[in-house]
Amino acid sequence: MIDAPGPWGSGPFTLVEGYSSLENEVAMIEDRPLAGVWLDTNQPRTDRLVLEANTDHWNKERGPRLERVVFRNNVAHDKALELVCTTEGEIDIVTEVDPSDAERVKSSEHAQLHAVDAMRIVTGVINRFTDDVPLRDANARRALNLAVDRDRLVREGFAGYAHALSGLTPHYAGGFSGAEPYPHDPEEARRLMSEAGWPEGRALRLAATSDVEPVANMLAEDYRNALGIEVELTIIPDEELLVAQHTLVEKVMELPFDVLVHAWIDLNSDAPPAFIHGAYFAADGPFRAGPPLDDFEELMGSFATEIDAERQGEIAAQIDQFVYDEALSVFLVAPQALYAINRHVNFVGHAATFELAETEVNEEHWSRRNGQ
């Protein structure tokens, strides 16, 4: 994080006004060897933050192509979406567009929708710590996967702006196993869960953060219909999120769910196990919800010490296949990142970041007509 403007970095732009910062607190996973993550508590930003082109940047093929970027942090997201759709000169780029707003953007006078295959996933974290339900049994976890109608989830939950996941690696990233997503097979799901011995009358405890509540609602419906068991759905209130995050990461308290609907990202697409699979299943993984797995640890050890990129990619695919075969998560979707973009902006989206070096505006853009 950078707390003040200044000539600090050699990137495509220079921060000349404002700041976008971070406040957080640590959550420890293990002390020896030390493993921990930081949980956001606040993201202080100035109302306005300005980047100016670094015209000495070495990579002129890439950019920067814009002279100035103004982040208007005092404009609410809903308002920004309205402004980019109905006006020119107010807002040019709105990130994190909800799929339910996609049609509104597409049909607007001034904006276009830009969808990016992003390094983002939504999955169900399966609690393998629990003793009273059979979630240490791979067949029970397979049942949780076979019960999910991913096509409906993509179609109705994300308005089509998502891809069904087979494992934790999206098909467009490195180290993809090549596996097909678990089919929607309610009968087989019910049979496997029955064989695994789900206790009569015991409801499945499904939890979710508010950002993925619609996904949790659809998942609850699938489980009720396919498995024939009741589902208790808990949406974690935003004001209780920090406590819930500590509970999940630190693993001291009992986890109060059987399945947690959870959204996560990666910061590159080369080696997803480093940031995704490891986070969910490794001994030092913040989202691990079960005992460490020897076979997984062995694969991750080989992956982390392999310096040949091709070989490392092969091991990454083995890791993704392993988590698929063991059904270690409920594999759901990889949502696309959606942007509302002024029609005179040629936006270049990124799978794993939000950078504007390659983005440019045409001669019809308000800032060029006005000489800005």
């Binding site: 707390d3 493993a35 030092d284 010490t305």
Partner: protein, 170 residues
């Protein structure tokens, strides 16, 4: 321009000469906005392309000397906005600053380089990282090692001025 010159131009990133034009107004509610501002204004030894693949940035090239030694050649002629040259010493300073903190990266300690790693300047534009064990994730971890100007380290640092620490703020 012949094919060799064109290829060289593309590799060096010098194939486009038009000046930056225009202003855009952005609303980005992402909780990672602090990181995106960093990535837009700072270079690391590597960056990611539009598909998320790791590519050289402040680093022109690299090679594994052996399975525990990564040699990095810093790009020639790169400068910070105040005119300071970005050199091998800039990389070493970033490595040393990062090493001051137990858990500098918000996503977690798994972005840490092994604390036994050594960074040696072997030339004006050459640095060698020596790892105690093979680290196949080293390039990805270098994406989180921001190469900053001397003024940055001396005047504000990553949270140093505000919080008195860089823990969790890289």
């Amino acid at each position: 321009m012949n094919l060799v010159e064109k290829a060289k131009s593309l590799i060096m990133g010098e194939g486009r000469s038009s000046e930056p034009v225009g202003t855009v107004h952005v609303v980005d509610p992402s909780p990672l906005n602090w990181l995106y501002i960093t990535y837009n204004t700072v270079e690391e030894l590597v960056r990611v392309d539009t598909q998320g693949k790791i590519r050289p940035a402040a680093m022109q090239r690299y090679r594994w000397v052996d399975d525990r030694t990564l040699e990095v050649h810093v790009r020639k002629g790169e400068r910070f906005p105040d005119g300071e040259a970005l050199t091998a010493s800039s990389v070493k300073r970033s490595f040393d600053e990062q090493g001051r903190w137990t858990a500098p990266h918000p996503p977690g300690t798994h972005f840490n380089l092994d604390d036994r790693t050594q960074c040696e300047v072997t030339g004006e534009r050459t640095v060698r990282f020596r790892f105690p064990e093979p680290d196949g994730l080293a390039l990805g971890k270098l994406r989180a090692m921001h190469i900053m100007s001397t003024r940055f380290w001396d005047e504000i640092g990553f949270g140093y001025e505000r919080n008195g620490t860089g823990e969790g703020h890289w």
